[in-house]
Subunit: 154 residues, 3 copies
Amino acid sequence: MSPSKRPPSGSASPVLPVDDALYQEIQHFYGRQMRFLDQGMMEEWAATFTEDGVFTANAHPEPSVGRAAIAGGARKAAAQLAEQGLQRRHWLGMLEADKQADGTIHARTYALILSTPRDGQASVHLSTTCDDVLVREEGRLRVRRREVRRDDLR
Amino acid sequence: MSPSKRPPSGSASPVLPVDDALYQEIQHFYGRQMRFLDQGMMEEWAATFTEDGVFTANAHPEPSVGRAAIAGGARKAAAQLAEQGLQRRHWLGMLEADKQADGTIHARTYALILSTPRDGQASVHLSTTCDDVLVREEGRLRVRRREVRRDDLR
Amino acid sequence: MSPSKRPPSGSASPVLPVDDALYQEIQHFYGRQMRFLDQGMMEEWAATFTEDGVFTANAHPEPSVGRAAIAGGARKAAAQLAEQGLQRRHWLGMLEADKQADGTIHARTYALILSTPRDGQASVHLSTTCDDVLVREEGRLRVRRREVRRDDLR
């Protein structure tokens, strides 16, 4: 395997390139998923994870495991934002994706989180990386495992 | 229709998914369109709207209706930026798109506007959403209706 | 050639549209390339340029010519960032691409560079444009010529 095909984060499993239809589908999936989060549609947000989905972050002491925990964490965060009058926007970009030998998809993105106070100045809230294991269930993509790493916490 | 296919902003009309070729074409269209705006090519910018195109924004008291009004508004804004020595960059991302039953395309994006003073520090100017109704005319995409909502104005 | 197909930066050569597979391939290429840069994988970064690749920037007095010079410049910049405890993230977006008559691809993007200090606040570092001439070598895309123009330096 040539250097430019090697996944940046070390994985020993053989990988296959994704085709252009799948690459686009992942982009589209992320557009929908982040809109659910930013619009406070937390059941829809949680449904973009598998039933046993895992959300792990270097800012969280423990991973959230399962849709109920993922929805609960998001609802709590949304309540705080509402109280503070903040509108967040989650951008995922610079997508790099491979199919793993086990049929899952490894999708790596950069995340940019913008924050805008009511009547205030929009600004960068966080820069992170986002590493997803995606699977297809009932014809659609879902996140089985997400690992978010904030760039400030190293 | 399943939750994750439902458009976030309520629309009762049945929708069809866009295919990967159209998703890419919309991304490409936005790349061209925003470059026209940021480079001050206002006739070309206006030509990316239909002749009767409507540009509405929660920051504007009235919508701009028709290419002449859209070009005029953009020229006025560009003149102010030139006087202030500011280079703006409009990023559209997190695209979500559906074909409507009437053949139009509903394309929703997040917009990030960056601003850089001459010899100064680049910064986030605004975070907005952008909801477009796109149509195909003479083989190419055009905006029939755009609704921009600034995140600070709620 | 119609206005909306004309490349913004003046080029007299006839151009052909890229298809959706190539558009996606360029996006994917940039995802990989920028991850190499931001993760300090400088040999892999340099290998995304042709052997005789040219990197030119309005912030640099001289272009970097050839992979060794491109890798050397990147290693020097990375050492400074490491000393300062900064994590940079390079986003390329708003892609517009055409095939030139000579078989090369002209790819224009906006670049947003984010910077995050260890335990500090992420922020916008720079807004630039990035104009690439891409070629295919051994089946993969490589940059033959890159021109980066910072928006603050005009």
